[in-house]
Structure formats: C-alpha cells, structure tokens
Symmetry: C2
Subunit: 492 residues, 2 copies
C-alpha cells in the first residue's frame, strides 16, 4: 500500500543533465553530499529523518513504459537515452546518518557515491524527503523539549501541506518525540500510537453538553477525555465533566486515562481553574490536555506561568514547522573519481566563505566527552583518515583557525556518523521501527547539553574540519580562484 | 498511478465519533461548511484549489479488509461498527466553488450534506486537500501578480514538505498562474508544462565553464538557458555565454528560447549589467531568468529597481508558502435535518464574535458591478432564498450593521458560487484540466480590483449575510446564549 513509483519525482533538469552525461559518454563515479547550512527556527541542533523513505525510493527507482512515453512526448530526449532510462537501476553506494541522529550544519548526512547520471537523478527526491522529515522531527523535538516530560500529540493532519505531508510529518513527529498522532493512516503505516477523542461537532449534535459527554463516556470509558469548551468552559464544560466522572465512579467504573481537553481561551488561567475544580471534586488524577495553535514558545510560556496542563495536542505549528517551513538541505558535488580510482576533490565557490563547499570523499566523526558522554564536537574529515582517541586531538574553527581546542588523548571517544546503506546498488541496511528510532533519538538528545537545546541563542556544537581536509580545501579553493578568470575569453 | 486508498487519512476522533453516532443510531442528515477566516499573507483574496483531489478521495473512499483489521487492532471499535465501515460508501451531496475561483473569508467553499457519520469522516481529508492547494494557488497568484506579465516557474520540489506537497503544490501553483514547473511527475500527472536546464554540478563536472555551456547548447539548442554564476557571473559566465551564442549564430542555428539564468548575487545590479553585455553583443532577445529564494516581495522590489529579469524561478517560498505555511480552512456543523426535512440551524459560539459560525443550509452569491464586471460583494444566504437583480439590494456589514451599501436594481449581476459536485453519492461534476482551470482563474482575477491585489493593506471585498440569514443567526445565537448556563448543573 502506498508503495508507488516516484521515479519521475524529480526536477526536469536532472534528466536533461543525465542525457548530457549520456551523450558525452560521462560515466564518472562522483560523490554528492547532502547537508544543511542553517538550523531551522534558530535552534542548536536538528534531528535527521526520512532515510527509510529514501531507501524505499531508491529501491523502487524504475522508469515504467508510461514514464518513458511521457518523457518522449516532451520532444527533448533521444531514443538511445530513453532506452538507457528504461533499463535504469541505481548501482551506486549510499552512506547516511541513522534516523533520529542529532545533526549540525555543514556535515554530510547522506552521501551518494555513484555514476554521475545516477547520482544526479537522485538529487531532488532525496532532498525532498530528507528536508521534509528532518524539518518536522526537529520541530517535534523542540516542542517536546518545551513540554518537559508531558506527552505531546501530533494533531496537524488537516493543516498539513497535502496527504504525504500529514503522513510522513506524523512519522517524523514521533521520531522527534511525540507520543502519538491523530493520523490514522500514519498509525497504520508506521505502527505508531494513534489517539483522539471528539470534536465540537460531537457536542453540538446532541441536545445538550451533558448528554454528549454521557454518551461519549459510555462508549469510551477507558479513554474518556471530554472537550469542555463548546459552550462555556468553567460554567458548563467542567461541571458537566465532573458530573460524568462522578456517575462513572458511582457505577463502579475504574477511572483511568480520563480528563478534559481545553481548545480555546486563556489556557494558563483556565487550566488552573479547571485543575482546582477537578481536585475539589476528588479527581486529582484527571488529565488536563490542551490544544489551540500551540508551539514550543507557547508551551514554554504556559509552563513558566504554572499552567496545569500535562498533555499537549499540537497541530499547525508542528506539522508545517510554521515559523520555518523549509529545511535548507542541499546536495553538492564533492568529488569525481579519476581513472586510477582516486577522488578528485571538487568545490563550489561562493561570495560567502561559509557557503564554499567541502571538497573530497568525506565522512564525519562525532567526538564525545568520555566522562559526561556529551558531544564535544563533530569532525568532518576525508574518508581514509584514521584517528586514535588515545592520542591528543587539536580541533580548530575552519573559519577562524586561531580558535582551538585541544582534546587530551583518553578523555574523548569517537563514533563515525555515516553508515553504509547501499553498497553498489544493494541495500545493506534495515531501518528500525519508528518507535525504535524515537528511543534512539531520545538517547541522542541526551548527548546534547541543555545549552544546545534552549530556544534563544543556543550554544553551537563545533563542526570542524580535520587538518587534512582543511588544507585540501584551501588548496582546491586557491587553484580554482586562480583559474577562474583565465576561463573568461575576455575580461570585462 | 498514484490512485491510492486514503480512507484512513483522517483523525482518529472522526472514527470514534462515527462509532458514537452508529451506537446511538444517529442517522441525521447534516450540513457541514468548509470556509476560512483569514487570508494567507495578509492578502485581499484567496484562490480555491484541490477540488479534483477531493472528488478522487470521496470516490475511492472504502475501508479495505486491511483497514478494518488495523482498526480492530486498536481495541476500541465494536464488530457491528466495523461491519458497517466495511460496507461504507459516501451517499451524500457535495457543493463547492470551482477550482480557480477567487474566494474570501467566512464564505462556504465546500458544503457537505450527508448522514452525520459520513460527513464527519470526510472532515480531515477535505480540509487537508483544500487547505494545501488553496494555500499554494493563492501564493502563486501573489507571486505572478508581482512578476507582472513575466513567466513564473515553480521550482520548489526539493524544499516541499514531502512528495505530495511538491506534486499537488505544483498543480496548485499552475492554477494560481505559474507557467510551468520543474516537477516532472506533476507534469506527467496533470499535463502541465515542465521546464528546466542545468545545475551548478553540470558546470563543475566539465573541465571548464565554456565546455559545459558548449555541450549543453549542442544538446538543447532550442531551450538554451545557461546558468552563469558558477564561477563569476560577469567575468566568466556572461562572456562564455555570449561566445556560445555567437558560435550558434555562426553555425546557422536559429536562436530562440535562449538566454541566461542568474542564481546568486545582487539580482538587480547583475541583471542590468548582464542585459547591457548581451545587448552590446547583439543578443537583445536573450532571456534573463533569475532564481534564488525569490518571493512576491523580492520580485516586486526587483521590478521597482528596474531589474532586467523577464523570467522567474520561484522555489521554497512558493511551494511552502513560507511566510504563511497554513491555510486556516475549518469544517463546521451548520445544520441538522429534522424529521420533516427542515434544516435546524446550528451555531458554534466563541468569545470572538467574528468566530461565531453562520448557521443553516446556505449558499453564496457573488455580486458584480454590471458595467465594470468587477466584484461588488459576496452574499451568504440561506439556500432557498431567491434574488432578483433587477431589484434594489441593501447590503450591510454583519458585524457593523450601520455600514450599508444600496445596490440599485439593474446595475449589478449575481452568480451562485457553490455548484453541485456529488448528488446523493454520485459524482455529477467533471473537473476541467489544470490549464483550463488556470485560464478560468485568470478571468477570476480580472474581476478583482487592483486594490484587492496589492500586498500591503489590500482592500477587502465585502462578504455579507442576507437579511434573512442575519436574523436567523441572531435568533439562534440568542437562544443558545440563554440556554447555555442552564446546561450547567451548578453555577460556579
């Protein structure tokens, strides 16, 4: 179900470029890096997500006869090339950080090593999938951080940007820490908890609120969360809810997973009032859940105000990452293999020094403090580099090399972040379940400092370059800077 | 292809409520209205889109055995109810405004008249689809307005919130006015123009920029837009492009659809410089296209600065509607049919007067100035009301009834906006093609005043209530306000 051929989910230029490589006989093996430059919402970290769907996409890559007919109809593709496409399979290798990993700017999170035509085709879909799910997983992680240990439910399907955005958004939200979703299809597809009670229309379809509550409680006695703001929260909703709970108690029904939901009004004020009313009626363990355009900032503010809410439903702001609805992941050529099998580093210049890409076939190590198990830094290096954590390691800021940190041998540990996913076209990785990824992500977040997680001016984790990579980058950079003017036939 | 069962694309509470109605034997016919309250990005109008996908969704609604098994596994549904679901088909009626129609706050754009269980189930998916596509169609319309008569291409797939968001977003963008998309799958599915040239990686994969251009021009002589900012726009990119164009000319190739693309730097400054260089070389008809994080505000500013760009590629800001990534469409119960077939109006109260819903089984008329053909106002009224445009019509602001406008009989025309889509379960509407919808949308925008289309403080189109609906609303409102306290068993 929903396994669909997304082979044409790509920008046209990927295919026009492929034809170009085909026509010129370019079969070079290249390295493309996927990375991002700025953390969404000004945060101190992001959460990687979407790899399972990238794998599905790559596995099912295949131009159907319909696809070929469609491409032919565009009148820009040669028959030889279309024939090549109709036999297309991905034959390259992919390395990626596991889903749920906390990630930082500029480090490769998906690396493709493949013939240039294949690597080029993958660009758009890989970015689409990774950008979307990493965005929502990151947002969910922020919202859950604000909610401290309370449960956060993903409620946003109706405001998501299309069906997939709701479905994969719910998946990513659970990876980032949400305890469930209202989205039934996501529940079915990913085996994640689904929850939900009733809407205002339920209340309005009955002659009065009490009867609506009563009917609901009878049907769902073990998940009885009553929506109390249809008419008047304090004067009608809460008294009716209490009456129901009293009747349930009197009928000998064990009250658990029960309570009320607030969906409008001043949540700080109302939740305190409601808490007192419920407590005074003897329902100290009744849950007060809240929804209504919540986000991490509002939840943090409500916590500071002492709001008596312990369960949160978050919709629009989470499923769209409203304050930052795009994760700026990019896909950049880093190296081209020569005839001897060596990777020739490639670089993309930019006016902005920080935007100059990192050349070469690289990997990423995460360096932890041995004692606290917290992250000290990430180190981007060339793939062949070997480190020994018993030796001292000098880290430096690649944009301000006088900023240095010496890690003493034996006080730190290292872990390679990129792991093999596809090996020469064959998938060699099995994705964990979404709930397993969530658990892993929780452990990942434990390796961050609180200072990385706060919303205002979070501390940055250093993402440094190895000495070798730093010097290689400068070399390529200088060569290219010198060469570029000579390419122009005339100076202007 | 991509026709998939989205029956479980819903919030769990829709199904728990359905079971509630099932258990209580509630088979009432109800009316639900879909409408929005605030125009995205502070604009003066929105563009309706997504109806074709709503129709597909309703037509294919069906709980498969897998779906039933999944719901059973949640342990909250009774077998009798699951049996009902397994035979579920939509048997109700749907009315909607055609896609591409300009719409305004508070007026119903999709109306469902159906047994309460069926109407309830549809809520989430209808909102998801309509909210997404109307959001992007509206954004596209704004971007195209800023670009005046230039072509605007949708380029955002890699930053869209998942595959569907890119696919249906491209569809909506074309409805809103874009001349095409880079998204090949959207092109295939909706028969809309796809376009694209090459990326920086194309240039970088050749020994030099000139060879990269030359190869590209040889392959695509009739769509030769060269990306000129990989190394240095003015010193390398433009001179190399001019050299290519000269060589093409010398070889007797007819130059059309050719030019350059800018993707970084100061687009105002660079485009003027590039224009002069191209003109001086005799390529006055070479296109200058531009991309790089554009939106309607940047394009408007570039136009004001006299930038020499005539073709625009818009990515992230369009496909995510970055400054306002959610269209706040809601789905509200408006009436319940009684045993005599009369619709009993229902209302949802709110602290905010403007948020009180409009009760009853309604429709919407658009009123045009007979001479200018521009919109005078929209009028929400009860379905059975009849108007005669030869008679005077007094309009008034429902929230400030002293604000009145008298339309003299004979000076205005009226058109009903809601048209029948499903009649008792049967689809009686055929969606036009996307390009036909675009054409219709262009005509729709011609009925707006420039004052409605500007970005800052746009003039609002009046959306008024008929006299009859206004009085009905007040009656229901007052009855409910009086009744609501009496529902509370005790006053607090």
């Amino acid at each position: 179900m929903r396994t669909q051929n997304l082979t044409l989910l790509t920008d046209l230029y990927e295919i026009t470029m492929m034809q170009g490589y085909f026509e010129t006989g370019n079969q070079d093996i290249v390295v493309f890096d996927t990375f991002y430059r700025e953390t969404p919402s000004g945060g101190g970290y992001a959460v990687a997500a979407g790899l399972e769907q990238v794998i599905d996409y790559v596995k099912t890559l295949q131009f159907t006869p319909d696809d070929i007919r469609y491409l032919r109809s565009l009148n820009i593709f040669q028959e030889e090339f279309l024939k090549y496409l109709s036999n297309f399979r991905f034959s390259g290798s992919i390395y990626a950080v596991p889903e749920g990993t906390v990630i930082f700017p500029r480090e490769p999170i998906v690396k493709i090593v493949a013939p240039i035509m294949e690597a080029q085709l993958l660009e758009t879909a890989v970015l689409n999938i990774i950008n979307h799910q990493s965005l929502i997983a990151t947002k969910a992680s922020r919202v859950c951080y604000a909610a401290q240990n309370d449960g956060v439910m993903e409620f946003g399907l109706r405001r998501a940007q299309g069906p997939d955005s709701g479905i994969y958004g719910a998946r990513a939200a659970v990876i980032g820490g949400c305890c469930g979703t209202s989205n039934v299809l996501a529940g079915q597809l990913f085996d994640i908890p689904v929850k939900g009670t009733h809407a205002h229309s339920w209340i309005m379809s009955f002659p009065d609120e009490y009867t609506a509550f009563k009917t609901y409680a009878k049907l769902y006695p073990t998940a009885c969360i009553l929506l109390i703001d249809t008419y008047d929260t304090l004067k009608s909703g809460v008294p009716n809810a209490i009456r129901i709970f009293q009747e349930m108690k009197a009928a000998g029904i064990e009250l658990k997973n029960y309570g009320v939901r607030l969906d409008s009004g001043d949540l700080a004020y109302l939740s305190k009032k409601v808490r007192r009313m419920l407590d005074e009626a003897g329902f100290e363990d009744a849950v007060i859940s809240a929804s209504n355009d919540l986000d991490e900032y509002l939840i943090e503010s409500l916590k500071i105000q002492g709001a008596k809410i312990t369960s949160w439903g978050v919709g629009t702001s989470l499923i769209t990452s409203r304050d930052c609805p795009a994760f700026g992941g990019v896909y950049k050529l880093a190296a081209i293999q020569d005839k001897n099998g060596n990777f020739i580093p490639k670089i993309k210049l930019s006016e902005n020094t920080e935007k100059v890409t990192n050349p070469g076939n690289k990997t990423v190590y995460r360096i932890y403090d041995k004692e606290s198990k917290k992250i000290r830094a990430d180190l981007i290096c060339l793939e062949e580099e070997v480190f020994n954590s018993e030796e001292d390691l000098l880290l430096f800021d690649p944009n301000a090399t006088w900023k240095r940190t010496l890690l003493t041998g034996g006080t730190y540990t290292m872990r390679e972040l990129l792991i093999p996913i596809f090996d020469k076209g064959k998938c060699i990785y099995t994705s964990p379940s979404v709930m397993e990824i969530q658990e892993y992500c929780t452990k990942e977040k434990d390796t961050l400092w609180n200072e990385n997680m706060r919303f205002v001016n979070p501390a940055e984790i250093y993402v440094d370059l190895s000495d070798k990579l730093y010097h290689l980058k400068n070399k390529v950079f200088n060569e290219l800077s010198e060469a570029k003017y000579s390419q122009a036939p005339s100076r202007v």
